[in-house]
């Protein structure tokens, strides 16, 4: 669980995110295919989650009490893999050498069969939020006491509060369940074109899943161009509010804002939470930033060398 975020910790996270960006570029150069803009843009959020927020144990990926992180837009897996490798789920070196190659753990889009530490396989867009909603529902069933985990015979939870096994606790007219795990869904803005995303959003709102936190990578690009030209999403916050979600909008590169938004989301117990993270696609390498052309291609050797130089210089400054 997340502790306080002081200046020292923020500096550590910034440096870690920069290392992860370097690893992503190195892996993409070697792979010769893959997505660049999204992974660089989401490096800060992934770093924050894996290095400060998630309750997890890289040495024991099957630990049942871990928080769950579903990556819905599977194509940005270079950042998921790089972050998981740096966090200890896999070898960073193996990742850099084998991304997208035959027999690799690090398939072109995430596949659990090859890398069981993943919470799900993904690639086809729009299905992650529903899976995360299913996970949150399952957690709620457990929290209702059907499995009686963590509850004593009188139905008291760890804080000694009484629990109606069927209905949860009633606080101020709303129902509170003693959730023990947080379910995160990381999604793209482009995949909100898909109806399946909104089916999941409707259900999570209906079920008041306070243990569900969706984070949308609002980088405004998709393969064919800018999202607002391809299929306008705005007013995006209003759409989520209309499905009864708690909504926030943040700068997705500001660790303090990420930290505060997740903290606020966790304080909302009767609504799922969405955090719309404004990010810069290609973040960290100015030549790649804000260009949708970098959505789906890797840097070639020269572009890669330039990007690594920029990122390494930035890393020196952060030290």
């Amino acid at each position: 669980m997340a502790g306080n975020l002081d200046d020292k910790k923020i500096r550590e996270l910034e440096l870690q995110a920069n290392e992860i960006r370097i690893t992503i570029i190195e892996a993409l150069i070697e792979a010769g295919s893959g997505h660049t803009a999204g992974p660089l843009g989401m490096a800060d959020i992934f770093t924050y989650l894996f290095f400060h927020e998630l309750r997890h144990d890289p040495k024991n990926p099957e630990w049942s009490e871990r928080d769950r992180l579903v990556l819905s837009n599977g194509h940005i897996c270079p950042v998921l893999y790089a972050t998981m490798a740096h966090a200890g789920y896999a070898s960073v070196d193996e990742y850099k050498k084998t991304l997208r190659k035959f027999g690799t753990k690090f398939q072109g889009h995430p596949h659990r069969e090859y890398f069981p530490a993943l919470e799900t396989s993904s690639g086809p867009l729009g299905s992650g939020l529903s899976q995360a909603t299913g996970m949150a529902l399952a957690e709620r069933i457990d929290a209702q006491g059907l499995d009686a985990q963590g509850l004593d015979a009188q139905g008291l939870d760890a804080q000694g509060q009484s629990l109606d096994r069927e209905k949860g606790l009633s606080l101020g007219g709303s129902t509170f369940y003693p959730y023990k795990k947080w379910i995160y869904c990381l999604m793209s803005d482009g995949e909100l074109d898909a109806g399946n995303s909104w089916e999941g959003a409707m259900l999570a709102g209906k079920e008041k899943l306070g243990n569900l936190i969706a984070i949308i990578d609002r980088n405004n690009i998709q393969i064919d161009g800018f999202t607002e030209n391809i299929m306008p999403l705005e007013p995006l916050l209003d759409k989520w509010r209309a499905w009864n979600w708690h909504t926030q909008e943040i700068d997705g590169h500001n660790f303090q804002e990420i930290h505060d938004a997740i903290g606020r989301a966790k304080a909302v117990f009767d609504q799922p939470s969405v955090i719309i993270a404004r990010t810069i696609p290609g973040k960290g390498v100015p030549a790649f930033e804000r260009k949708y052309e970098w959505h789906g291609k890797p840097p070639n050797k020269e572009e890669g060398a330039m990007a690594l130089k920029v990122l390494r210089e930035l890393g020196e400054k952060l030290k």
């Binding site: 659990r112 799900t120 899976q131 299913g134 996970m135 949150a136 399946n196």
Partner: protein, 332 residues
């Protein structure tokens, strides 16, 4: 005569044989599975009573999720619940699930290897008056092509109950094909059921004659195969009928034994001939023991409104058609 080792319903040939919709067996099986294992959860897309999930929903309201008319959500939410250790059953009409949500089933259930059970009710043209939009005759093909997926197609309500309870005990993604209309009860509580095992339900008893034709039937039409077999026996043609209630994994041993014994095979299913159960049988026989075959099913057409039996006859899946197919096969 009936194969006595499988203890079929003694009233199977009677005019007043009890008739029950196959989907009803699913509802009862799910309730029993839910009582036996608290990890079982139910999800439905606005067809709770119609798919008979209401029995479970009433008994276990906290383990039932009403998804609304959103079949892609139905199976993806189920995948997430399975990821947390639940054993989800999703029910809808086969036309919508797996009809509308195939890619979600492929990626989030089969590719992920999650033990989600998909019950597709109202399969086949015998749905009747609702018309072709609601008559799934492609679902076996859609499901059997997916790696990791099991495909069950019970022949009556009792077998559907057993299939549902058995599905809850496997860790494998499973499709259970169900029909809307009442059909005769063929089996009994004592009839054994095992996923992946085909059973001989009928063997003609004609002196000094080996069976010349093996009929392989599945689902709601199996009773018609039995009736046809009995009539053919009266005409001096010895027939063996195999109930293929698991289409995947295919009981290759039973199929090969039948082909070896009879030399000719007729398959029968309320489904498109393309890609269905008969195709699965043909894939095995072509490889292991090439055998002349006739296929009974829908021939590349859509269904339409009408009375169930009227439509089944129209599309060439009645008792007469089965007998004609047998005669065609005999000439090969």
């Amino acid at each position: 005569m009936n194969n006595h080792t499988v203890r079929l319903n003694p009233k199977i040939w009677d005019k007043d044989v009890e008739q029950v919709p196959i989907r009803k067996g699913f509802g009862e099986g799910l309730l029993a599975a839910g009582e036996a294992d608290e990890r079982v959860v139910g999800l439905c897309a606005d067809l709770t009573e119609s798919t008979q999930m209401h029995l479970f929903a009433k008994k276990f309201p906290n383990r039932f999720i009403e998804i609304g008319v959103a079949e892609q959500n139905l199976v993806t939410v189920a995948s997430g619940m399975a990821a947390m250790g639940k054993i989800p059953f999703c029910s809808s009409y086969a036309m919508f699930s797996p009809g509308r949500n195939w890619e979600q089933i492929r990626t989030t259930i089969c590719y992920n290897d999650r033990p989600v059970k998909i019950a597709g009710s109202h399969a086949g043209v015998s749905v009747g008056p609702d018309g072709g939009t609601h008559q799934a005759i492609e679902d076996i093909a859609l499901m059997r092509v997916l790696p990791n997926m099991q495909v069950l197609s019970p022949c009556d309500a009792l077998e559907a109950k057993k299939a549902t309870m058995a599905a809850a005990k496997t860790k494998t993604p499973t499709y259970i094909r169900l029909a809307r209309e009442k059909t005769p009860i063929i089996t009994t509580e004592e009839t054994p059921f095992e996923i992946g095992k085909a059973q001989v339900f009928y063997k003609s008893n004609i002196k000094n004659q080996k069976a010349k034709i093996g009929i392989i039937g599945t689902g709601s039409l199996l009773h018609k195969a039995l009736v046809a077999a009995k009539e053919l026996e009266g005409e001096g043609i010895a027939v063996t009928v195999l109930n293929l209630s698991t289409i995947k994994p295919l009981d290759e041993k039973a199929i090969l034994e039948l082909a070896k014994e009879c030399g000719r095979i007729v398959t029968l299913e309320e489904h498109q001939i393309a890609g269905g159960m008969g195709s699965a049988v043909a894939e095995t026989l072509a490889r292991r023991l090439p055998t002349p075959m006739e296929f009974i099913g829908v021939r590349d057409r859509f269904g339409q409104s009408g009375k169930p039996n009227e439509i089944v006859e129209h599309y060439g899946m009645g008792v007469t058609h089965i007998k004609e197919a047998v005669h065609r096969a005999l000439k090969r």
